[in-house]
Amino acid sequence: MEPQLIHELVALLGPNAVLSEAEDLMLYEYDGSVELGSPRCIVFPSSTREVSEIVRLANRYQTPLVGRGAGTGLSGGAIARNGGIVIVFSRMNRILEIDEANLRAVVQPGVVNLDLSRAVEHLNLYFAPDPSSQKSCTIGGNVSENSGGPHTLAYGVTANHVTGIELVLPDGEIVRTGGKNIETSGYDLDGLFVGSEGTLALVTEITVRLTRKPEAIKTLLAVYDTLDDTTESVVDITVRAITPAACEMLDGFTLRAVEDFVHAGFPKDCAAVLLIEVEGLTETVEAQAAQITEVCRIHGAREVRVARDNRERDLLWKGRKNAFGALGRLSPMYYVQDGVIPRTRLPETLRCISEIGRKYDLQIGNIFHAGDGNLHPLILFDERDRAQFERVVAAGNEIMQHCVAVGGALTGEHGIGMEKNELMPLIFTPDDLALMARVRESFNPDGRLNPGKVLPLGKACGEIRVQPMPVSATSPA
């Protein structure tokens, strides 16, 4: 990168909004995944206008550009794979408008997910998508990755909660799509941009739905002695068309790590638990809680416990949301996957994952969104053991192959990024991918915006790329 570009960026944004020293850049080399990439320069714009100017400058210098929120992503979406400029949105973190009457908020991309919910709490409202990293991840990042979370089972993912976006296109043009209305005439461009992983445009403002808090919430903890009983309960809850707001599963191995860490009162001697939440009107909640308790008992739950109060509920959720971090205490490094399967295939899939763990002599924890079939097998390893790392990659690949074979998907909420892009041919034909590539080209013609993400590079078609050696444990909450 030419020093002249840095000078121009400083002239544009001021010296406090540009980082280019090696020790500063190191902090932006990674995200929550096991990927790495070295940017040449970090910029902190304060306005859409500045973002547009940065993009125009980058175009003059033909430099790659990557948008970044809090860097909690789990697929390398915010990593500068080909170097270049990383645009960090942390200074664009204002909530621009709270429109209570219309249940909308207009926010800048750097607003932290949970901060929005806190800002509307007094109105008895919240922002429904709740990724486990919600204390630090940003709404801009949620939009780019189409983030989910435990409660997306009932409320949907980010795409279901975005009605309008302001974008800066790779040529620097500023465009708005959608708005506060639930529909605008024309193609559903919001639907395309949400989840496009920052490869089509940079998101500079978002209009989101706000959701009214439910009247009643009940949190149940069902404790099991076998994994099969646990997964069969989830299948039966689905089959009976009971729709809890969240249905999370933690296996015994994970639980023990979590309990030692957060002391939430999880039983340490069980095979697995289900953490189930029902929400809505008091009458609905009572009826659903009773139905769920019955299903769990039919399938051999040794105990079904209801959280007595908010404190107990918060503790259970603290355990769930900090589980990745807890496992990080047991192992220098872990590799978390995000495959999705039809919910009725859960029992055989969990058996398959155990089998794969034994085959490759790896410890795999399971903590995931069971209710929508979104798995998070978490493979523990030590990055200094290269042979073990290769087994991790092979095991991960086999789990993914299984998900695809039963009719599932590669990722439910973490994104493809640079972690799974070479796996895309497992799901998509060359024609599918060619069309996606063409859509990307129509917005991002020379591919300088977030290069090397989502679509396979074609270097190892259908094969697993061996990831670079990771440097340190990460714990994306």
């Binding site: 465009v175 529909e183 024309g186 689905t238 969104h369």
Partner: protein, 459 residues
């Protein structure tokens, strides 16, 4: 057709068989789009035939318009060209229905009524209470993004469609999304097809999540002396913890269309009515009945009543079929579909009434409290309909919607051809994201084979 017509027919017959290519006047007229007839109607058997037809059309620069039940061919701008009607009604199978997993994959030609029957056997449904239900097919419902009152509780097609397979304007079979309920693998290209009116691709498979039928249901009607009171009732519902299935506001002149003569509800003409449906456990429905009644009286309702089963069924059907009922009563009606936020609705409806009066037209409105206003402008009873008045009205409606305090997004779903061809067209003034839509069109259909000209911005 640029090719000699006979050569085109021969090729279509080679692809789909002579028994599935139609050229009789009645056949082509039944597939006319805004007065333009195709040279031939072809009914392919499968995806491979569709791809081949499109590739042939692309090579010969022929224009293709996909269709199913043919109930919504009138929507959109008049096509620039139209050679082949591609009728997908033979692709009408349920490809995969995993009731245990609450997921479904269907072909585009299946009629919504038939599909709902299949789902009903498993006590499930899709929240698509859409017009022309006796003939409308899934492909058309998705391509026109037909409006359903159930969107209030379940979201629109974009919220419960999991993925699609489709044939692009180059005859390439492609897909996006998948069959599982949560998925961020690749770009959500299928979302672009929802509401695209067949301008990007021919839909060949749609995957949905399905929903359990609620154990019990109740429907209530409240009447109010003015719009402000009716909307204050809607606001009270929105600010409560209650989650009804639908909340519909019928303007005064809509009452006689929506309430059949046999209904027990004595809804006064010139009243504003709000129709609310509740679903869930019987206790939940009972509670909604009680609390809605209380809210209605606080909003100065003249009347609030639960509807009996047959009255409820009748009004729900009429709400679902609203555009069809209006068009049957007044074939020359102009029906706007307007996306609006709740706080702007009462003001918008007031302005629309003013537009109607100024142009000496009647106005019938049905508003989904979740954010869609249906406004039908009709020639007054016994009065002369002047096309000039309709054209003038349309211009004023688009202007009204563009006012900052209203900020609504309007399109005309149904109108006489003269209104379509007038200055504003059916899509209203261009927005700044039309340029992006052109890029999307170029990626899917670079040669302009599919429904050229029907979409916003001349796409």
């Amino acid at each position: 057709m640029s090719l000699p017509a006979q050569a085109t027919l021969t090729r279509l017959e080679e692809i789909s068989g002579a028994a599935h290519v139609f050229t009789e006047q009645t056949d082509v007229e039944s597939r006319q789009v805004n007065g333009l007839c195709p040279s031939a109607v072809v009914r392919p058997a499968d995806v491979a035939q569709i791809a081949e037809i499109i590739r042939f059309a692309a090579a010969e620069q022929l224009a293709v318009i996909p269709c199913g039940g043919g109930t919504k061919l009138g929507i959109g701008s008049p096509p620039l060209r139209y050679d082949i009607a591609l009728d997908v009604s033979r692709l009408n199978r349920v490809l995969a229905y995993d009731a245990r997993d609450l997921t479904l994959g269907v072909e585009p030609g299946i009629r919504i009524e038939d599909l709902l029957r299949v789902l009903g056997e498993q006590k499930q449904f899709l929240p698509l209470a859409v017009p022309f239900s006796d003939r409308a097919t899934i492909g058309g419902i998705v391509a026109a993004n037909s409006s359903s009152p159930l969107r209030h509780a379940y979201g629109g097609v974009r919220d419960f469609c999991l993925g699609m397979e489709f044939v692009t304007g180059e005859g390439t079979v492609a897909k996006s999304g998948g069959r599982v309920v949560k998925n961020v693998t690749g770009y959500d290209l299928h979302k672009l097809l929802i509401g695209s009116l067949g301008t990007l691709a021919v839909i060949t498979r749609v995957n949905f999540r399905t929903f359990p039928l609620p154990p019990s249901q109740g429907t209530f009607a409240a009447s109010f002396s003015d719009a402000e009171a009716a909307f204050s009732f809607c606001r009270a519902i929105a600010h409560s913890v209650l989650t009804p299935q639908m909340v519909e506001v019928a303007g005064p002149s809509a009452a006689h269309l929506l309430f059949s003569s046999d209904t027990t509800a004595r809804v006064e003409p010139r009243m504003w009515s709000v129709i609310v449906s509740a679903a869930g456990q019987p206790e939940v429905v009972d509670r909604l009945a009680h609390e809605l009644g209380h809210m209605a009286s606080k909003s100065a309702a003249e009347e609030f009543m639960p509807l009996g089963d047959s009255a409820a069924q009748s009004i729900l059907t009429r709400i679902r079929e609203f555009p069809k009922i209006v068009l049957e009563a007044a074939p020359s009606a102009t029906i706007f579909r307007i996306g609006s936020i709740p706080t702007a609705m009462a003001g918008l409806l007031g302005e629309l009434a003013g537009v109607a009066t100024r142009n000496r037209l009647d106005l019938i409105t049905l508003t989904r409290a979740s954010g869609i206003v249906y406004a039908a402008f009709l020639p007054p009873e016994g009065g002369l309909s002047t096309i000039t008045a309709m054209i003038n009205m349309a211009r004023e409606v688009f202007q009204t919607c563009g006012k900052p305090e209203i900020d609504a997004s309007a399109m005309i779903e149904w109108c006489p051809p003269e209104v379509k061809r007038a200055g504003g067209g059916v899509w209203g003034p261009p927005r700044n994201d039309f340029a992006l839509m052109r890029r999307v069109k170029a990626a899917f259909d670079p040669r302009g084979v599919l429904s050229p000209g029907r979409f916003a911005g001349g796409i």
